[in-house]
Amino acid sequence: MELLVASAIGALTAAGIYMVLRLRTFPVIIGTSLLSYAVNVFLFASGRLAMNAPPVLRDDVLVYTDPLPQALVLTAIVISFGMTAVVVMIALGSYLSADDDLVNAPKLPAATKNAAPTERGEAPQ
């Protein structure tokens, strides 16, 4: 069980980091989603793994799972879901207004860079 969870977190994180390092917004957003899945599983495991145990403490229950990480994971899921929705909207807006979806290599500063020498060239005339 521990091996399974740990390797799942590792695989998700590795895939997420690989995707985040891509140049276009879509793979990067997929990467951040994968990373947030990884962190959710990680948070879940931070309360120790207990199988088939209730998440509540009653007088007659001897084995129970820690309920707090489950609440933390719920919070983290809600927040990361909202954040992903926001970044999708902003990336879409950026794509529609700039006509490409590169995360870096801004086309506009490059254009001004190209424009700058001509301006400088024109200045002495």
Binding site: D66, L74, I79, G82, M83
Partner: protein, 554 residues
């Protein structure tokens, strides 16, 4: 327990909801509500500051749950000081936004502004590590909306980078919190502090990983060197009032470093030895050097100021990295100063952009702008403050930092980097100032043809919008605050010395937080079931954050 402690969070949250729901289509009403709310926030913050200034640590238990089972807010000297800085900055920035018309260039400026204030004050006041994460998210999600306010291709692209970078930062924060919970079994900062102090050093690998992860997260917020890439583009492209408000956001990172590393991982803790002098100090000095070199190399005024922000954060964090009470005192003084100085500069950049017409803020010669003398004078004063020349507060701040570093083993590095980077910054700012304001007359005087051309250009371009007085009042207010920080340096320094003394003896803080009676479920005080309630309260917060997301979509 008074309810005043929670009002700096509740007030902007309620106002934001009212503004977005009740006065969606009434810009004037929005402005009135937003301004009144910011002024009320200033009043409350001043009251809390006064209450905490004699050393009282007052706490607020949300839902009356006893710490560490419930979320608590703590108002001590440091938190109330930071809330007061935020509340002082907010009305001036808002005044500028209203006066310059930035708030009508897109929708929901005022509600997002209030949500942003809620997140910032919440992050300063909370005493719970996970709640700190939640407030970070609240302030971030509001800042995403503000950052892309009024749109535009360049701004949206910078916004995408900013959001993605911060998403990664949030993920890292969650990893750090998970590790802390796994190692200590609690998320209340005071409780973590007691448990970390009781941990065995030989068995502390996990908590050391958490300490480093946390400092990385806060370093992203504070734009420390290898993690600063998000800042220049996003601050330069953000709308001016938003960039000015963001001046406090980098301070949230610095505040969190100061808070967590004095309370949870204090300097005498064996397991986190070397974190500050081996890692933070060189990183801070490199940040300072890089920021000021960026000032020298920038081709646009807005990027120049953004790099000055990075440089000032390097300066601030090098004072934090000394990690003595004197160092923290100097860092806090510099934080007050640099917040107002960068906010004033960002607003001035916008004034320059408006008045120069097509050429914008590129550092190239152009025809003189209308009313340039006043703008030039204000830029001169703000640049003097920012670069740390006498007689303004930047000079005093730098002096305090250098004085605090005297006992540090790295003193020569600190002094050398601070002094030489100041020179570089002075050169950078004077170059920018002379190109934009002083040499502005040359093209007009050179040749008649040139003059005709520029006249034609002036006629061709749209007539500049009638200059409003409000923006200049806002900038003047910020500069007055800088002057006040300089004149009142003595009393401020005494207060900050008391603040850092309080930070370096965290026992009263921990006692107040953990020993104040409150509700506990059942008869046993150490039940995991009470943790469940803690979790529920956090869930509610998450729903609050989720609501923010929903609103932004409209």
């Amino acid at each position: 327990m008074t309810h005043w402690t929670v009002t700096p969070i509740i007030l902007p949250a309620m106002l934001a909801a009212i503004i977005v729901l009740a006065c969606r289509y009434h810009l004037t009403l929005q402005r009135v509500f937003s301004m009144a709310g910011s002024l009320a926030l200033l009043g409350i913050a001043a009251g809390l500051f006064w209450q905490a200034s004699d050393g009282t640590i007052s706490i607020y238990q949300l839902g009356d749950w006893k710490a560490p089972f419930g979320i608590i807010l703590v108002a001590d000297r440091l938190s109330t000081l930071m809330v007061l800085i935020t509340a002082t900055l907010a009305p001036l920035v808002l005044l500028y936004a209203i006066g310059s018309g930035w708030d009508k260039r897109g929708r929901h400026f005022h509600s997002l502004f209030q949500f942003q204030l809620m997140g910032i004050t919440g992050a300063f006041l909370t005493g719970d590590a996970f709640n700190l994460f939640v407030f970070f998210e609240v302030l971030l999600i509001a800042s995403y909306g503000l950052m892309i306010h009024s749109g535009g291709a360049k701004r949206l692209r910078a916004g995408t980078q900013y959001v993605l970078y911060n998403l990664l930062g949030s993920t890292l924060f969650l990893f750090a919190l998970g590790t802390i919970y796994a190692e200590t079994g609690t998320l209340n900062m005071a409780d973590i502090a007691t448990r970390v102090a009781a941990l065995d050093v030989a068995d502390s690998a996990g908590i050391r990983v958490a300490a480093v992860l946390l400092i990385l997260v806060f370093a992203i917020k504070a734009a420390l060197l290898p993690l600063h890439f998000w800042l220049p583009a996003s601050y330069a492209e953000a709308p001016a009032p938003v960039a000015a408000l963001f001046a406090i956001m980098t301070k949230v990172g610095a505040y969190s470093i100061i808070r967590v590393y004095t309370l949870v991982f204090p300097p005498d803790l064996e397991m986190t030895q070397g974190l500050f002098d081996t890692w933070l100090m060189p990183a801070a000095l490199l940040t300072l050097a890089m920021g000021m070199i960026g000032v020298l190399g920038a081709k646009r005024l807005d990027r120049l100021v953004a790099f000055a922000v990075i440089g000032s954060m390097g300066m601030l964090l090098s004072a934090v990295a000394v990690f003595t009470p004197a160092g923290i005192t100097a860092a806090l003084y510099y934080a007050i100063h640099s917040t107002f100085a960068t906010a004033a500069l960002f607003l001035l950049v916008d004034v320059v952009r408006e008045r120069r017409g097509g050429i914008g803020v590129r550092l190239e010669q152009a025809a003189p702008m209308a009313g340039g003398a006043l703008v030039a004078g204000m830029f001169f004063v703000a640049a003097i403050a920012m670069t740390g020349l006498p007689p303004l507060s930047g000079f005093i701040g730098k002096l305090l930092i250098m004085d605090a570093a005297i006992d540090s083993p790295l003193i020569w590095w600190v002094w050398a980097v601070i002094l030489s980077s100041s020179l570089v910054a002075v050169v950078g700012f004077s170059r920018a100032g002379s190109v934009i304001f002083w040499k502005a007359h040359q093209p007009a005087a050179e040749e008649t043809a040139d003059a005709e051309q520029s006249e034609e250009a002036e006629v061709a371009s749209d007539p500049p919008p009638p200059a409003s007085v409000l923006p200049m009042i806002a900038i003047g207010g910020l500069i007055t605050l800088l002057v006040a920080t300089t004149i009142a340096a003595g009393p401020i320094n005494r207060f900050l010395t008391a603040t850092s003394a309080q930070l370096f003896s965290p026992a009263p803080y921990i006692d107040v937080v953990l020993k104040t009676p409150g509700r506990v479920v059942g008869k046993k005080a150490d039940g995991e079931e009470a943790h469940d309630k803690d979790a529920k309260a956090e869930k509610d917060d998450a729903h609050g954050a989720g609501d923010d997301t929903g609103k932004e979509g409209h």
